[in-house]
Amino acid sequence: MYRFAERLAPWLAILCVLTLAAGLYLGLVVAPADYEQGDSYRIIYIHVPAAWMSMFVYMVMATSSAVFLIWRLKIADIVAVASAPIGAAFTAVALLTGSFWGKPMWGTWWIWDARLTSELLLLFLYLGYLALRGALESPQSASKAAAILAIVGVVNIPIIHFSVEWWNTLHQPASITKFDKPSMHISMLRPLLLMVLAFQLLYFHNLMVRVRALILQRENRASWVAELAEKNHV
């Protein structure tokens, strides 16, 4: 797994930079300005992918937590730990950019719109997960307790989403789900999809780097780690 992560990481990095560059170029330069929002809409090229990733990473976390609890696969736990801060960062980015987007659109930095509120609650879930991990001394129990929390969280997320939508029915319809009848022009959509891909790659690259570091940290008593350390020193 360590070797796999080591080999994969640079490729992911290169791909990520390429798609990121292409996405940003198409999004910021090529795509036309919105006739209502002008150039300020362009922040969706960060906001939407970040919001997507915040959900996606939580799903990865919960899935690997379940795998860890059921099959006792240590690597699944490592993936979950490695994902949590990345997911929290994506959530924070989504919240921040949402707020920046809100200023020109609604004239205020924060509005209790359903999606922003859900994002905020998701951030709380991430922070709770990280806090629980930090609070438990024994690494074994921290892993398992956090895994249970992640699964409880993922069961709750749809209910939270539903309740927040209910609570605030005055929100924009989701802007990306209607592929059959696009509400966005193709020239705006293409960079958005590219950016989503770029964010995915960014996540996987980050994940690989963090997974490598965590494997080294956890297996520091294994002989192969010692060999590796020796080799790199010479």
Binding site: E137, S138, P139, Q140, S141, N220
Partner: protein
């Protein structure tokens, strides 16, 4: 050494890490039927951890547990049904009286006695032997640590279990209490039961085959 058929509990190659520290390094324990196993070691030698691992309360990093020859993961329920575990924490709730505590901890004594009065008489007799018969209806919060310990130890007579796993059973007991516990252990072994316990000082038993396992701090 007895053949594996008569082994009650068996632990093979147990290794336990706590974070960066190796607590138990490759320890094997065999508990045959009708035997006493002393786990001896100084403070910090990991004897409590080993004991907790034997009853599934601490996680094992390497090694395997067997109950009557079967892997523990498959027969955990049967194992627990035959186990009496007295840990470092006595399991005595402060808000309940000794009688209520014992009724909560060993519910099967109710099933054995058809009339509650009989049960009470029995529990009272055992607590009297332990010198705390007059405390049977006092809230346990009014009991000293040693007295709470005695309430928990009353389970040795009240509860039916093939295997006793006891963590430092003689701590905070006076000479008489210690004699009582030793007597219980010998009687239990005489009737086919097994006892595993930890101690930092070896306990002398009259004529039993006592297996002593000395734990040293892993390097």
């Amino acid at each position: 050494m007895s053949s594996s058929a008569t082994l009650m509990l068996e632990a093979q190659g147990i290794q336990i890490w706590r974070g960066e520290h190796l607590i138990i390094d490759d320890v094997s324990v065999s508990v045959p039927a009708s035997s006493i196993v002393q786990i001896q070691g100084s403070n910090g030698s990991g004897k409590t951890t080993l004991l907790r691992a034997l009853v599934g309360l601490a996680e094992i990093d390497e090694g395997q547990l067997f109950w009557q020859g079967e892997p523990m993961t498959r027969v955990r329920d049967e194992f627990y049904a035959s186990l009496l575990y007295l840990g470092h924490k006595p399991g005595i709730t402060a808000g309940l009286t000794p009688y209520e505590n014992l009724m909560a901890l060993c519910p099967e004594i109710v099933a054995n006695q058809t009339v509650e009065k009989e049960t009470r008489k029995w529990v009272l007799a055992v607590l009297t032997q332990l010198g705390i018969g007059d405390r049977i209806d006092l809230p346990s919060v009014a009991l000293s640590a040693g007295q709470q310990r005695r309430v928990a130890l009353a389970r040795l007579t009240l509860q039916q279990a093939t295997l006793w796993v006891l963590d430092e059973p003689l701590t905070s007991l006076d000479a008489e209490g210690q004699r009582w516990v030793k007597q219980q252990i010998q009687q239990h072994v005489a009737t086919g039961g097994s006892v595993v316990f930890t101690t930092h000082q070896p306990i002398e038993f009259d004529d039993e085959t006592v297996i002593t396992l000395s734990l040293a701090q892993p390097s």
